[in-house]
């Protein structure tokens, strides 16, 4: 039991960093910053993996343009659909109006036909009557 306690204490116990730890961390940070500055300069080629990574995330830089293009496509599609719907509706209304007009003309003509037949019947019975006169048949 006491051996286990000793081992745990040794493993979890506080250990002081080596004396050059801070200097090493600062040196590493300085090196990273220097590398970044060097890569940002024109003419300096980036490592392949960084280029691949940059290419992978390049579209992110175009997001506003992509969003604009998508919005334009959606708006155009919406306008097109609206125009098509309007055209279809107008066509349906036109066809309905045409059908109504034709029906009205057919009824008017049919009734005029009836009137004409009546007048003709009257003429057959009594020739010489004026067509505009008020006809009466029994």
């Amino acid at each position: 039991m006491s051996r286990l306690d000793d081992e745990l204490r040794a493993a979890l116990g506080r250990a002081e960093p080596p004396p050059d730890f801070t200097a090493r961390v600062l040196a590493r940070v300085a090196a990273e910053q220097a590398a970044a500055t060097t890569l940002a300069r024109p003419g300096v080629t980036r490592p392949r993996w960084r280029r691949a990574l940059a290419d992978l995330f390049r579209p992110l830089a175009w997001r506003p343009a992509l969003a604009g293009a998508l919005a334009a496509v959606i708006v155009a599609a919406g306008l097109g659909a609206g125009e098509y719907r309007r055209h279809r509706q107008e066509r349906a209304e036109g066809e309905r109006a045409k059908a109504q007009v034709m029906l009205a003309l057919q009824i008017a003509s049919a009734k005029l036909n009836v009137a004409q037949k009546k007048v003709q019947e009257h003429h057959r019975r009594g020739p010489g009557a004026k067509p505009a006169a008020h006809q009466q048949s029994n």
Partner: protein, 186 residues
């Protein structure tokens, strides 16, 4: 003061002009009361804008449709109310009188009036002559079980009526309307 009188005169003329043109339109609203009693109804209301729209859908190449198109070109309205009843006496003389009273008004002239006691069929055809044309046409057919009122608001070109007869189910009438207008012109 003179200018005020002139303006008043112009306004009066302006108001009178369309009123004259609209005379041929009959008010048929009272017949709507017959709707519940009818077994079959046809109610067509086609005003100038609908006629224009309908004309757009008639072919510009097919001679038959061109004829109808030309006939419709000047029209301001076509109105039909037709009722069919399953029993006699479904409508009254009072229903008809509202229409007949309008047709007794200025401008209208009855060109055909048929009264058949045997068939119980009464047909009246009225026109509103205006210049060499007809500004309006009204047909009133009152049978025992059928009532039809047709009102065409013109100007109706008489020559063009003949062009559309026998087409689209419109019977060939061979009606000679010229005498009616000539009679009126005298």
């Amino acid at each position: 003061m003179k200018s005020l009188r002139l303006i008043a005169l112009l306004v009066a003329c302006g108001a009178a002009a369309p009123a004259y043109g609209q005379n041929a339109r009959l008010q048929l609203g009272n017949l709507d009361g017959l709707l519940p009693r009818a077994v079959e109804t046809v109610d067509v209301t086609v005003d100038a804008s609908l006629i224009q729209l309908a004309s757009k859908f008639l072919s510009k190449q097919e001679p038959q449709q061109v004829a109808v198109r030309e006939f419709l070109a000047g029209l301001q309205g076509v109105y039909v109310k037709a009722f069919e009843f399953d029993s006699d006496g479904a409508y009254s003389e009072a229903d008809l009188e509202v229409i007949r009273a309008q047709l007794r008004g200025p401008g209208w002239e009855r060109i055909v009036g048929v009264r058949s006691r045997r068939d119980g069929e009464n047909v009246d055809v009225y026109i509103m002559p205006q210049g060499g044309n007809i500004a309006g046409l009204a047909i009133l057919v009152a049978e025992r079980r059928e009532l039809v009122v047709v009102n065409v608001v013109g100007p109706i070109d008489l020559e063009k009526i003949g062009q559309i007869e026998g087409q689209f189910g419109i019977p060939r009438l061979d009606l000679d309307w010229s005498w009616a207008v000539k009679t009126r012109r005298r």
